[in-house]
Amino acid sequence: MPSLGTTFGRGGATTFQQDLMNADCITIMGSNMAENHPVGFQWVLEARERGAEVIHIDPRFTRTSAMATKHIGIRAGSDIAFLGGVVNYILANDRWFHEYVRCYTNARVIVADEFVDTEDGDGLFSGWDPEKGRYDVTTWQYKGMTVHGAAGQREEGFKGTKGEQSGHGGHGGGLEHGDPPEEDWDLEDPRCVFQILKRHYRRYTPEFVADACGCSVEDFLWYAETLCRNSGRERTGAFVYAVGWTQHTVGVQLIRTAAIIQLLLGNVGRPGGGVMALRGHASIQGSTDIPTLYNILPGYLTMPHTEDYGGLGGYVERTTAPAGWWGNADAYIVSLLKAWWGSAATEENEFCFEYLPRIDDDNSNYWTVQQMLKGKVTGYIVVGENPAVGSANGRAQRLALAKLDWLVVRDLVEIETAAFWYDSPEIESGELVTEQIPTEVFFLPAASHLEKDGSFTNTQRLLQWHYKAVEPKDDCRSELWFYYHLGRMIKARLKGSKDPKNRPINDLTWEYGTHGETHEPSAEDVLREISGWDDKGQMLAGYKLLKADGSTSCGCWIYCGSFADGENKTARKKPHWEQSDAALEWAWAWPANRRLLYNRASADPYGNPWSERKQYVWWDPEQEQWTGIDTPDFDEEKPPNYVPSSGAKGPDAVAGDHPFIMQADGLGWLYVPQGLEDGPLPTHYEPHESPFDNPLYSQRANPRRQQNKDLDEDPYNPVDGEPGSELFPYVVTTYRLTEHHTAGGMTRFTPYLAELQPQMFVEVHPDLARERGLEHGGWATIVSMRSAIEARVLVTDRMRPLRMNGRVVHQVGLPYHWGQRGYTTGGAANDLAHMALDPNVHIQEVKAFTCDIRPGRRPRGPKLAAFMNELRERVEAERGRAPRREPEEARET
């Protein structure tokens, strides 16, 4: 989550779900929390019962809206316009938290003279290069600062970059410390962040919001006022979001807008405040902390690039931030290398740094699929995913699978991805023929979470241990079993090999206890290794003890201490009613068991609580330390008036009144000079596919979005102003239901869940049903340039048409759980989606694109392929009359 990472310093939710009950106002946006996080939602209801306003802002009226005190309907994909309006409301009406903003954010910092805002660049920031389709970010820097390349531009190489952990969820990137940036504490300099912010959002008036989002001016004003009224010294408001914000071509910027609001209102680091990122079940947070991602190492350390670093020294130099806790990156990486290569990792061989694999390109999931389509990727291991249903453009996904030499699927059941070669829409349509598919498919049955020990890292960075309840059946095995024994067998095979390329595997530490008939490895042994020990074998208490000299070993520095004193802290189960609200003795949270991040900000610059009602962590002058109901997210003994000396480095360089300790300057970043691909400030752009043009600029969509213009399998619907756009007049949004889980592998195959939502359906408003002749309970076919699927029609008032710019827009709602297999089958909504991506995290835009909807069932068999070919030809012919040239292709800034 680079949005939260660049703004606050860590790419994780700033708060925990239980703390929502302390909020006076909860904004749920980009999330359907009651349906998708029903257990955590109890704390929202608790807040409501205590009198908090709960506002759900969403294109649909969902089970969350039903429980909220207010629902505001907006057009899918217009969230930045709405939230930008809130920023403007706060600034225009002087509702910002003055002392908080001045002291704890970068509002006062002066930005380089070369920076040009979108307001002056017609939708492009300075530095746009139309040839490369990306920004040169040098003009976005603070005035007087050394220039660095943005993280994420790895194809450009690493020359001159520093502190670049911002890739996926890391901190705010590398400010050079030393020369303090130019500042204006009065916030009046026209080049200071505060004034730039003010100008940037000046045009986001309530009327603009109403026109762009389709809500009423009254509802918007009521919301903005309610939020402001419930923020400040005495009160706090929280934001809750999930993939309803993430899955856009502007997803990261969208979340950033909320982060800006929370900083302006002083709602970060305080009880009942913050940004609660709701992440997936059950360990999505865990899978970024100890990543399944290609571009980071455990603990958000950068993955080395193929470009010559000059070894560990060069890597450390580029990775270490001059101030803040990233100043100790050398200790984190060396301890990681020690955990992996143990005694083989010595100071002389740079702790085996050379053994780490290097990346050379994008390498993200969608990129990989595109390489498969081009025949450049020949093998694919799919674990706990069902891309044939769950990824955008399912047809392209399945066609890609059919070009592989081999495919391994590890899952609980034979999901669509494993069965694509004999049971898929393309087999039905004749586009794929089983006998002609070269892919050799291996299906390996997996054990479920009930059949193995282990930990989950949940949405609030909480590591919770679970125990095996039953033995897995037959050949089902845990992931741990699979990887441990795979590694063991490979090591056995390579034993004695003198080939240098095998040394990383030969030297790898691979000693874990096993037990039982199946020789299941000990999950606790793995956690021990992750938590770390010193050279005497003592378990480490926390990451502050990590050393860069090879005397400590730690598999993930942010998890250091989860097994402190030899106790599995994640297995602690003391109930919350037997301890403080922060429940510090229930399981264990990273970092250092802090539940509410940046909680130094719950006190004023002098260390006193902002108010008695909202006290949380404060400075105790008698004990000379920070204290409170949570673990302080600050140096316990660093007084509020601490001023770093000019030569201070790392954590010592962060002042006593700078709460964002992972940031190089200890401040919350309203403006992000480095670390994001698509701009230092969020700007309203239309979705990649939209029936509307951008009301602000001639620049229609995010210029930096990743498109696949040369990929035949990923054609785009014409957009507003392009001939043929009238063929796709509706906004479509996809989502989940409580009854099913993501791509359905765990729920469509379970009778008790399958019967609760037994068929794919489409939700439409009565007006749209009339307009298109759709009958409640009947069938409809939903069409995009990618595919056509069918669904039962659910006509409901909950899908409200919205009026904007004098036009009524209908929205079509599609749950995305269904596929070919299981107890309940149906059309896969993702088959309709395109693969244009957010540039920062390469995520698909499935929350807002366009479609058509027609009554009746879809064409069957070969007729489906013929129908789609005809449609595509017709659209291309239409579009060919006047193809739209997007401004970003032509202009340079």
Binding site: A34, E35, P38, V39, F41, Q42, L45, E49, F61, R63, S65, A66, M67, T69, H71, L737, T738, E739, P751, Y752, L753, A754, E755, L756, Q757, P758, Q759, F761, H776, G777, R792, V793, L794, T796, D797, R798, Y823, T824
Partner: protein
């Protein structure tokens, strides 16, 4: 404690026959104002009680594909979409004051606007009636009142006669269908599905869990405590407090359903806080146990029999003359 009474007014067998084993009467208070419609109660119930799948029929009735309580669905979450506000607007204070001066009642609460939408969700269950018709008519003794005051069918005693089915004013009691032909798809769970059935099944209020000191599965699984399990007397007090709070907060249509010991079934062991008329949720507005009419029925029958006997006797007497 509320003592279930038989319709005749005679003290019920429960709890006296349990002697020292008798427990305080327990039940459910289902507070629909905090039900999020997750259906965890339906699934938890099925998992614990090993109930077969109830058929995969998409109904188009909002998000409700269970439709009704039955032999294979012992919890059922209703979904009702309405063009009504969830809460009523505050009356204008001035209007209130003027109304007060005029001596009339306060101003009528104004509805917030026609655009308002609410989505009611409510988890229904067997009511475990104080006067349970099903229990009255069961000829085999399969239905009985437990030491907790709940009403349970014993699966090893029930012979499937079905007498209880029409006596339930809520349509809770239901026979589990036999497989109609060998070609029928087997029910999903092997435990019961492949065995012939035809018996009556319903909520046991997790009698086995109660015996083990655990709360029923649905209440345990409910993430928002919409389903609350406790001693009935405590639940009734809690419900009154809850209703009072919702009235102060001007919730539209908040009311209790089934908490009144004077109603046609003597009060429910599992009662509800609803946000509209019971009919809106598919519940009967004024449920009456059919066996309540039995005394009158028997009296009438006795009278008729007596009259008949008298007539016959008179005929014989007259014949002698």
């Amino acid at each position: 404690m509320t003592t279930p009474m038989q319709p005749t007014g005679a003290p019920a067998a429960w709890p006296d026959t349990y002697g020292e084993d008798a427990k305080p009467r327990v039940g459910f208070f289902t507070d629909t104002s905090i039900c999020i419609g997750c259906k965890a109660c339906e699934v938890a119930c099925k998992e614990w009680n090993l109930i077969p799948e109830d058929g995969r029929v998409w109904t188009g009735e909002s998000y409700d594909n269970t439709s009704a309580l039955g032999a294979n669905s012992w919890r059922h979450v209703a979904f009702v979409e309405q063009r009504k506000p969830l809460r009523l607007a505050e009356p204008f204070p001035e209007a209130d004051a003027r109304a007060g001066e005029a001596g009339s009642a306060g101003a009528q609460p104004a509805e917030v606007g026609v655009a308002d939408l609410r989505w009611l969700m409510a988890s229904d269950v067997c009511k475990h009636c104080t006067h349970a018709g099903c229990l009255d008519v069961c000829p085999t003794g399969a239905l009985f009142r437990t030491e907790f005051g709940t009403v349970v069918v014993q699966e090893d005693v029930c012979n499937g006669c079905g007498y209880c089915v029409p006596t339930c004013p809520f349509g809770v009691l239901d026979k589990r269908d036999l497989a109609r032909s060998p070609d029928d798809a087997p029910l999903a769970l092997p435990l019961f599905g492949k065995k012939e059935d035809g018996r009556v099944w319903k909520c046991t209020l997790c009698y086995d869990r109660l015996k083990g000191g655990l709360e029923p599965a649905c209440a345990k699984a409910c993430p928002t405590d919409s389903i609350q399990f406790d001693e009935l007397d405590e639940l009734r007090k809690r419900a009154e407090r809850r209703l009072e709070k919702l009235r102060v907060e001007r919730w539209n249509g908040a009311r209790l359903y089934g908490q009144d010991a004077g109603d046609g079934v003597g009060g429910f062991g599992a009662f509800f806080l609803l946000l509209d008329e019971p009919e809106v949720y598919g519940l009967p507005p004024d449920p009456v146990v059919p066996t309540a009419h039995l005394p009158k029925l028997w009296r009438t029958t006795a009278l008729a029999a007596a009259g008949l006997l008298a007539g016959i006797a008179a005929a014989f007497v007259g014949g002698r003359e």
